[in-house]
Symmetry: C2
Amino acid sequence: MSFERGIYRDLGKNYGEWFDYVLENAEIYDYGRYPVKGMGIWLPYGFKLRRNIVELIRGLLDETGHEEILLPLLIPELIFRKESEHVKGFEGEVYWVTHGGLEPLDIRLALRPTSETSLTYLESFWIKSYRQLPKKYYQVVSIFRYETKATRPMIRLREVTTFKEAHTVHESFEDAERQVKEAISIYAKFFDILGIPYVVSKRPEWDKFAGAVYTIAFDTLLPDGKALQIGTVHHLGQTFTKVFEVRIQKRDESLDYAWQTSYGISDRVVASVISIHGDSRGLVLPFIVAPIKVVIIPIPGKTPKENEEVGEFINEVKKILEVNGFITKVDDREDVRPGEKFYYWEMRGVPIRIEIGVREVKERSVTVFRRDMLKREVVKFDELINYLNKLAKDIDENLRKRAWEKFREHVRRVKDLSEAREVLEKFRGIVEVPWCGKRSCGLVMADEVNARMLGTPIEGVPKPMLKGLKCPVCGEDAKTIARLAKTY
Amino acid sequence: MSFERGIYRDLGKNYGEWFDYVLENAEIYDYGRYPVKGMGIWLPYGFKLRRNIVELIRGLLDETGHEEILLPLLIPELIFRKESEHVKGFEGEVYWVTHGGLEPLDIRLALRPTSETSLTYLESFWIKSYRQLPKKYYQVVSIFRYETKATRPMIRLREVTTFKEAHTVHESFEDAERQVKEAISIYAKFFDILGIPYVVSKRPEWDKFAGAVYTIAFDTLLPDGKALQIGTVHHLGQTFTKVFEVRIQKRDESLDYAWQTSYGISDRVVASVISIHGDSRGLVLPFIVAPIKVVIIPIPGKTPKENEEVGEFINEVKKILEVNGFITKVDDREDVRPGEKFYYWEMRGVPIRIEIGVREVKERSVTVFRRDMLKREVVKFDELINYLNKLAKDIDENLRKRAWEKFREHVRRVKDLSEAREVLEKFRGIVEVPWCGKRSCGLVMADEVNARMLGTPIEGVPKPMLKGLKCPVCGEDAKTIARLAKTY
């Protein structure tokens, strides 16, 4: 593949190609070479980006009392099959280990598609009393799903390598519901930090997690206008605690099954950061998760002496940057022109570039280029750290603002299904349609506009806003709003 | 199980039980409940310890130019089977995925037992020229081995959850050999920081890694005197690059297959830290990897006012500790007596305990207890931070020194096989026997003393030290020293 710089002016149109091109050329993720469909490799630069994003969610979970654990990958068939709804939801896409060495195993082992079953089995030993509750566990692991749909790097994989799954246990339905709210607020904070815009919807009954009482989901939009589910939160009720007998002594000394929630995010968060902020030159990374915060490019002078002075000044700048916590890279390759270096690091989304040449040495200043706005400014050496501290925040705020603006333009209230269909065909995005709330009408709607129902606003829709609105299928008064979108 | 405190005075004798007891009671690792043999769960406290240890080796690898990546878990049978020596070594213990959903897969997929094959396959696309070399990759992943021997938590598992495997590529045999040396020095530093003593041996020909030119191994001793392999470094020559066609352009423009090394450590490092430093009261963690560095225990006074003053002083102490980077936990449970709290945190190996009661408040001092020596000292508040900074270093040095002293006592030079046999029966440990170097004599030796040959000193044995020594099997002049031990 060879693409000219700037070819992706219109990301909306070429998004798919752009995404593959950037993953390869910014050395994020190797996909398509490995001879198993739906499995790829995190390359060093991509791994660092992924790690920074994972550390961010770890921090948010740790500070809210979540504890990290690590469960076995393999789940015995008997345990996996214990909860019937759950099995129905997953059995079509589970990988099975059947042989160890040269012999068949006595029992088949599933590669975990998610860990509700194995963890609840263990909780039946661990948790006996309300005194131990709430318990909030999480782990960051690979999960496996034998996807039959078309696979896409980071977006629909057979090995999802960055599955952060949280699992919590509570004394009552209400406690679990409060946990659902906490999970939503943690994810909202997480996506806000990353500048990923979203709607939070209650998934319709027919599209909830296998075994859940209800499912709340975060959806964002990719540059092609298709919605991507980037996080889910499930109220699990007592579905799993009943079959695995997680019985606890309650405050009033009675015995009852415990209540659970679970919530997860995946590699799709990384895909969203890349896709939503990127531009025609490649990646545009938020400062907070960028593996390299500042790259310094020397602009060669005319004499060896000039170059020496440039080099010395660069060392001085690098030192003060590092003392102040800016992870800095000096690109001092001798056989590469500055222009090529600009291109190279722009592709990799480094948020801040500093150019230093003879003029900068003379003026004891540096030229600062911000990747998000593609703008240059000359900054005095003495003011540099203050300037960069402010710039770092500016960049992330600007990315967030820009992404939300674009997102909001693509979430539209429509009156009827023909308008919905037209908007979805022309602009994609998310349409909001008045809905009576009946399953049958919901299914007709989704079918008529050839889209998926993301669900309804979790905070409900204020009555006055629904006044006079009718369900476009049955004509009855609308009770809520249904969100519909073309999805991944 | 119920054990009285102090039952493990003699860890040598009861080590196996002690280890299981501590893993459970210090809440490190849940083993035996999960219904798949050889697979366990990292519990929150254990996970933190594991994480600190992993971060330590990550730091050492990153600073020596290693790059972290993440490869797929599943290796297609064709790739796995490509190198015949390697297959022979591993095929008896590979788990196979044969089904996806309800259908059989076209090709069987191996759960990686190690990643030489899949990575070298990818390197054939990635690496074309000496200019890209050396390349040093690593990943921290789960590996799977269908062990037929008795499994032990962290020590012999079917899912090894903490496998740090490094893989490097070089231009020449000599470059790869230099990398072997770098790997040895990185591991030595790592084990030194953790206070784990070791011998470094070149494994005999018949016990090297499947596919390697040679294998260097680190072995330590557990409290029962049995040797445990805790790290290996392999010169892989061109074994894998030839079958996967990793051909590079060399400096002189010729084409040749690249050269490789690989090296790994596992959960066994955590097992060693726990086993080697622990005592009859439970864990004794090195300060540098302890999840909690300081625990503060309030000693209740006689009046509410006294307790209030104690509480205030504790807050003051906690604050200054945290500002100075000591991860601190205050155990203010009201229904638990101080003595029980001491026991609780001693079991968990927290390196430093601070006791604060009425006397301490009056004197503006604290009582500091160090877990490694079980010693108390009263320290003025104003001197506390200096004192603790020094103590932190002291603790780790003391653990290291103590462990090495014990270790050295158990590595003994012996003259002949009957002495070797006697020492191994009575004291276990490692015996060093003069050896002619012939395979046949080595095999006889190991068989005669009913032990495993760990190999020979990698730095060689100085000629004068071998003077007059004979191989106890064939009677010829000794050319080296063979290390023999009962092993895990």
